[in-house]
Amino acid sequence: MTLSDHISYALVDEQDELSSDTLREMYRYMLLARALDERMWLLNRAGKAPFVISCQGHEAAQVGAAFALQRGKDFTLPYYRGLATVLVMGMTPLEVMLGVFARAADPSSGGRQMPAHYGSRRLKIVTQSSPVGTQIAHAAGIGLAEKIRGGDAVAWTSFGEGTSSQGDFHEALNLAAVHNLPVIFQCENNEYAISVPQRMQMAVTSVADRGPAYGMPGISVDGTDVLATYEVTRRAVERARRGDGPTLIEARVVRMTAHSSDDNDRTYRPSSELQALKQHDPVARFRGYLREHGILDEVQERELREQIGHAVNEATEQAERAPMADPETLLEHVFAG
């Protein structure tokens, strides 16, 4: 039994008032993302995973947003921090771990890409590259095709605040606004682009300020608050499905780790800042909320963690045992057929 069996697809819908089950399910995804992420770092330190890049600190923003989308219908174009996004959209821990180990069965790329370059046609998670920002244009195009074809699916894409400096961000938001396309642009602002702080990246305090410059709403939300992110995304999805056009959402988050396993953020982040990070942990925050509101008790929490721990172990072991791609396959899939 893998964890994915527990996923209740029905929970991912557009309801306004979230049931306790849904809230616990959201929490479960956040915990799962965190557990997988932490495991990746362990594997990296153990020399088993040459490259790791984290979603730690972004879980609430991603889970909140993804719960406002419809799995199997809406397109997601997450970036490399999108682990929690792809989990909610249906990727299993095993599938994720196959990517971490770059195995042949990695659904994203068969081990061709670095880990965290998620993709799955089945789940409408669009294959992602490393050059930042290109997916923002693809999201606009998916929305354009949806409009041409008369469908009501939504394209949701995510990227960092550093990436909002790329020309593709500008061109894509502008096009989406001109044509009222059903697209949601989620900027996960963690205030750093590797070592470059936000004040060296832009002269405004919020990326959301740019929405109106394109003629679309720009909304800044506390991205460590899963319910707040859910709610703004839900409204943006409604707006998009109604044909009223795109929304830019800035989710303010924290990057709780170094940029990646190749980085050392102590060289550029003040230690006081590093120490304060834990205070903004979105997982802890949501746990506090659930406990406070009596939605999650200690027993449930323990069960959940055990379940997840088990799933992560199993996924890790299974993935590690899976074979690498045959060198003969190097030449495959340049073109179709």
Binding site: D106, G141, G143, V334
Partner: protein, 327 residues
């Protein structure tokens, strides 16, 4: 059968595909009401509506990028780049994205996209409205690059390109648009991507070209015939996939080869063809593989004397052929 020019052939091909498949649409600058600055898309907006013939903002990266996205969502986009010279802002989207999505997703996602780009000079277009761009893109695995020289091929290839499951860069030589006319059958047909064609058979020298240069080569071959030299003119039609067998087959027969392109010599696609020949037909060679190309200056000037000095011409091709024949 009707005689039409190359521009009309492309328009017809697009029109027929749009009539046949509602997923085919066009995105580009001035493609709508204006029908394109060269009029390739003239009348298509009236016929298929502003939803399928879309005047884009002035932003090439998102023209291509959005078409990639649209291709992923079950449509068949045609991106028009107004002049090939202006494709460079979209370089990243083409090279890093369109050309790699299938490979990087291990075959999961594909990008059925056509990018049309009018290229080439001799039309008084100056430094930025005359460029040949094929060398940049024919180097990119995952991308198909075609460059027809006749109305028949243009129509057959644009239809193949639109149907192709992978991204195709469709290069249209601006000077051939109205200059080159030819018979095009009334029935539905395709020209396959990746197949060259002998446009004039011959025995002594293989002359390899595409686009406008193909016509200059045919003129030059005619002159050489007067010298008693029989020149085989091979029209590549597709640069990627390249019809290596057609090239090698011809050269093995003739023993000599001249490659002609308008693009700058150094690092141009002629180098690839030359290298292929010397690697795989070395023993058949009776002389050096030669190249005739645009000189190594940043681009083609506006002033007529300078433009003429830049352009390969039938005369220059004749001179090179004579040199090779005498070898």
């Amino acid at each position: 059968m009707a005689e039409i020019n190359l521009l009309e052939a492309i328009r017809q091909g697009i029109d027929e595909m749009m009539a046949h498949d509602p997923g085919v649409f066009i995105l580009g600058e001035d493609v709508g009401k204006r029908g394109g600055v060269f009029r390739v898309t003239e009348g298509l907006m009236d016929k298929y509506g502003a939803q399928r013939v879309i005047d884009s903002p002035l932003a090439e990266s998102v023209i291509v990028g959005a078409c990639i996205g649209a291709a992923l969502n079950d449509t068949r986009p045609i991106a028009e780049i107004q002049f090939a010279d202006f494709i460079h802002p979209a370089f990243n989207q083409i090279v890093s994205e369109a050309a790699r999505m299938r490979y990087r997703s291990n075959g999961d996602w594909g990008v059925p996209l056509v990018i049309r780009a009018p290229y080439g000079g001799g039309i008084h277009g100056a430094l930025y409205h005359s460029q040949s761009i094929e060398a940049f893109f024919a180097h990119v695995p995952g991308l198909k690059v075609v460059a027809p020289s006749t109305p028949y091929d243009a129509k057959g290839l644009i239809k193949s390109a639109i149907e192709d499951p992978d991204p195709v860069l469709f290069l249209e030589h601006k000077k051939t648009y109205r200059l080159i006319k030819g018979q095009v059958p009334d029935h539905d047909y395709r020209v396959p991507i990746g197949k060259a064609e002998v446009k004039r058979p011959g025995d002594d020298i293989t002359l390899i070209a595409y686009g406008l240069m193909l016509h200059f080569c045919l003129e030059a071959a005619q002159v050489l015939a007067g010298d008693g030299v029989s020149v085989e003119v091979l029209d590549l039609r597709s640069l990627r996939p390249l019809d290596t067998e057609a090239i090698l087959g011809s050269v093995r027969k003739t023993g000599k080869a001249l490659v002609v392109h308008e693009d700058n010599l150094t690092g141009g696609f002629g180098g690839e063809i030359s290298a292929l020949i010397s690697e795989h037909a070395f023993e058949h060679l009776d002389g050096p593989v030669m190249r005739l190309a645009g000189p190594d200056v940043p681009a083609m000037p506006f002033a007529k004397p300078l433009e003429d000095a830049f352009m390969p011409s039938p005369e220059k091709i004749v001179a090179a052929l004579r040199k090779l024949a005498a070898y």
